[in-house]
Symmetry: C2
Subunit: 148 residues, 2 copies
């Protein structure tokens, strides 16, 4: 069993993908994050799922969460409008996470080691030319290891 056998097709996004599209991909498919690829479909980084929320939350509330308690519910509904004008580039953390990436020949143990070390529930699998082939999620890996 190698990474190539374990990986599944996975929606990727680009730096200029609308943020709202990224949020819908995450929500619609229960994904832990999205792989961001360049114009040649080579993975460049991972957008952690939680980071799409950053744009939804005004900076002064991120700094002082207590203020969120007194902000009107309607404010939260501006989330969609906020995301509509932004791109994936603006969602990425300032310190981008190292991309956990393996080739199709990686062993199950190799993938498990990478996931444990990088704490990423998402590992990108690339073809020989560096193009994204698919991903292995923590869930797929556990299913394989536990035989469920």
């Amino acid at each position: 069993m190698r990474a190539g056998d374990l990986c599944s097709p996975f929606p990727s996004v680009r730096m200029d993908t609308p943020a709202i599209e990224a949020a819908r991909l995450l929500a619609g498919q229960d994904l832990p994050g999205l792989v961001v690829v360049d114009a040649r479909d080579k993975p460049v980084t991972v957008l952690p799922g939680t980071q799409v929320l950053r744009l939804a939350v005004p900076q002064y509330i991120q700094d002082d969460p207590a203020l969120a308690r007194v902000v009107d519910e309607a404010h939260a509904d501006q989330f969609l409008a906020e995301l509509a004008d932004r791109t994936v580039r603006e969602l990425l953390p300032e310190q981008p996470r190292e991309l956990p990436v393996v080739d199709g020949n990686a062993t199950v143990l190799e993938v498990a080691a990478l996931m444990a070390r990088s704490r990423s529930p998402l590992v990108a699998v690339v073809a020989r030319n560096g193009v994204l082939d698919g991903v292995i999620t923590l869930d797929a890996l556990l299913d394989r290891m536990l035989g469920t």
Copy 2:
């Protein structure tokens, strides 16, 4: 819409829960992590999903992932045996993650701010007496915010 309306029942584990049981809960329900509670059901920390893999991977391979490439597949199958003898306590990271926790009156915006800041796709909701009521996952929150 408040945290109490958004939260769902969620399997919790304790420090002495067998590691294999935690792994099965994660795999069987596609969870991003597990809330660890004390004897009085008060949440104490979160076990990130990726950390159940730590026990599956010998330390020398975590240090030098290249070695995983040459380790026989059968070795990976010792995962189950390894987990059987361990507990959740041994899976927890050395620097435990701050537990993202809110009460049932927290607003959607408050939960979003906490998730974005803590980068946790899992927020615990507690009752007035501090007992775990349920959790809000990133996915549930996005579904609510996007109206999907």
